[in-house]
């Protein structure tokens, strides 16, 4: 943590960045995202095992619009998100300074995008053994049962869109659910309105999601919706041998074409 603070302080005092995005103490044992603009503020910066929020999210929010250079305390999930955002032309290397940190909390120092790609490749992914077991259980269900499982699981969704708002990849200025002429996705959070929203969301993240699990962490009613994205990640890997968040020049599997793409979906 002291190492991160030192780097953050230096970046701010040398005016290499105008803001450092990191964490500070939150309510009780919680931590919260924090934005440091003065070297002295950095005293409040903390890093511990609770710091799991995907801070890359803020690179696309209002607060970064007027900041020319920003540094970000980046665990492997954040690093992968930044690389993915870069591949989608959403962040520029000269504007973002990555302060790398391993899942164990060890500082890696400042990473340029090349080093960030290398670092991301060596880091374990967010999928825990219990997540894998969950996916296998759902995948083993017959199709109808699986469909009903998701309908039921999404039925408690209140459409607060915390999943969308917390996802670094959901940066669209106007989300598809906000398109109302015509209305593609029902606004109402009834059974099928919820299902349509979550399917649409998952499809838009297929081949782009870096599996940080932020959507599920943000969900007030604990819907395991990251599992749907995880399954799609597997699918994209199997079908296209593509994985998000590892290369800043990556062409997202579902919005690019290569001549080795399978055509077995044409029946």
């Amino acid at each position: 943590m002291e190492e991160i603070k030192k780097i953050a302080k230096q970046l701010l005092s040398e005016n290499k960045v105008q803001m450092v995005i990191g964490f500070e103490k939150g309510t009780a044992n919680k931590v919260r995202p924090a934005f440091f603009t003065k070297p002295d503020d950095v005293e409040k910066l903390i890093y511990n095992e609770a710091c799991i929020h995907n801070l890359a999210l803020y690179l696309k929010k209002d607060i970064c619009h007027h900041v020319s250079n920003v540094a970000i305390v980046a665990n492997p999930n954040v690093v992968r998100s930044i690389i993915q955002l870069a591949s989608e032309n959403q962040v520029k290397e000269e504007k973002v300074t990555i302060i790398g940190i391993s899942f164990e909390g060890k500082s890696i120092g400042i990473l340029d995008f090349k080093a960030a790609e290398e670092f991301a490749k060596t880091q374990p992914k967010g999928l825990k053994p219990e997540d894998r077991a969950f996916i296998e259980k759902v995948q083993a269900m017959p199709m109808e049962e699986r469909f009903n499982y998701w309908v039921e699981t999404f039925s408690t969704c209140v459409k607060c869109y915390a999943c969308r708002a917390s996802c670094p990849m959901c940066y669209c200025g106007k989300c598809n659910v906000e398109t109302n002429n015509p209305q593609w996705i029902p606004v109402a959070s009834h059974k099928y309105g919820n299902l349509e929203w979550h399917i649409m969301r998952a499809m838009h993240l297929a081949g782009r999601c870096i599996n940080c699990g932020e959507c599920t962490r943000a969900c007030p009613v604990d819907i395991p919706l990251n599992m749907l994205s995880y399954m799609l990640t597997d699918f994209v890997m199997d079908e296209f041998h593509a994985e998000a968040g590892l290369s800043a020049t990556y062409a997202p599997a579902l919005s690019s074409y290569t001549n080795i793409d399978k055509e077995n979906f044409i029946k």
Binding site: K30, S189, P220
Partner: protein, 338 residues
């Protein structure tokens, strides 16, 4: 009416729940499922999670569901037939195990739905709702009811308030006519008692500020940079509004299918950019900080003027649900000392 004091043993509460369910009333109470506690329909005391400080979502959906049909319509060659929802078909509902803050939340909610004209659908549901609350023995770092005119044993909004005074007994305060109706039909389950001092049986929630002080401060804070500072980490979702017992904003949506359709009322939130987007493309609240300011102003400045009610009951649900740990009590305290 004047509050009537009684005792209700836990075994008698169990019998009361069974009687209420058998009489055709729908009884809702906090139930823990898949690790989270929310209001769900019950028919026995055994499924109630008495331990939770507050449910994740408030009990407001009993009178203001997250989506409800308002009317259906059908176009024929001659006419358009509109059929309003049958408000007489709404069930009699008992909310049991609501906290005093939940019960208090129905007061500002009612005020919202009765400003200018009384919302028929909301009022029909509210009329059929009886609220049997249980005082708080425990509070957590998010609770701040005492700072917004509430307390862990507050009777406001409840029809009956139960306070656990021993492992086997509740002190029951019959607060309203609806509460009295339940008592009158089940007098054999209640015992006589003199008034009891509830204080030793209640959680301690330290008062940090007053709602009136916030109201006063807001008069000069509209242009303050405090809103930018506080809302920096806000991600712009609607979780706070949707778990709030006093947030009543909604959207009206038609779902059309060929020549017929249904008109829905669905929850909406001032935290969303779309909430205030005009047809012209202009958005009077284009930044998240303006939306955060609106949330606080609506609850602590506009509602007290328009409806003589504060729009916050201090349950702390918004803070617990916030993915970015926006702690409303902390922010209000900051405003109070600003």
């Amino acid at each position: 009416m004047e509050i009537v004091n009684k005792l209700l043993d836990k075994s008698a509460l169990s019998a009361l729940i069974e009687r209420l369910s058998k009489s055709g009333k729908e009884v809702y109470a906090p139930v823990k499922e898949n690790g989270i506690t929310d209001f769900a329909k019950i028919d026995t005391i055994d499924t109630i999670d008495f331990d939770c400080i507050t449910t994740i979502q408030s009990a407001k959906s009993l009178v203001f569901p997250r989506v409800e049909n308002i009317l259906s319509y059908k176009k024929t060659s001659e006419d358009i037939v509109v059929k309003n929802v049958d408000i007489t078909a709404f069930p009699e509902v008992v909310a049991l195990g609501t906290r005093p803050c939940d019960a208090a939340g129905f007061i500002p909610l009612d005020a919202i739905f009765c400003t200018d004209n009384a919302d028929e659908i909301f009022n029909a549901r509210l009329k059929k709702l009886t609220i049997i609350s249980i005082s708080c023995k425990k509070a957590d770092e998010y609770c701040f009811c005492t700072s917004v005119n509430g307390n862990p044993g507050n009777t406001a909004g409840s029809d009956i308030l139960l306070t656990e005074i021993s492992d086997s007994t509740y002190f029951a305060e019959i607060v309203s006519e609806k509460g009295k109706a339940i008592f009158d039909a089940n007098t054999d389950l209640f015992k006589e008692t003199a008034a009891i001092d509830k204080t030793p049986h209640l959680a301690e929630v330290k008062q940090e500020f007053t709602a009136e002080a916030i109201n006063e401060k807001l008069n000069t804070l509209f242009e303050s940079d405090i809103w930018d500072k506080q809302s920096m980490r806000c991600v712009g979702c609607g979780a706070c509004a949707y778990v709030c017992p006093a947030c009543g904003c909604f959207d009206i949506q038609d779902e059309n299918k060929g020549n017929k359709g249904i008109r829905h009322r669905c929850w909406d939130s001032c935290g969303f950019g779309l909430f205030t987007l005009h047809t012209s493309g202009h958005n009077p609240r284009e930044k998240q900080s303006q939306r955060w300011r609106q949330r606080i102003f609506h609850k602590f400045s506009y509602q007290p003027v328009q409806q003589k009610q504060f729009g916050c009951v201090g349950c702390g649900r918004c803070s617990r649900a916030c993915p970015a740990d926006m702690n409303i009590a902390e922010h209000l305290k900051e405003i109070a000392v600003n």
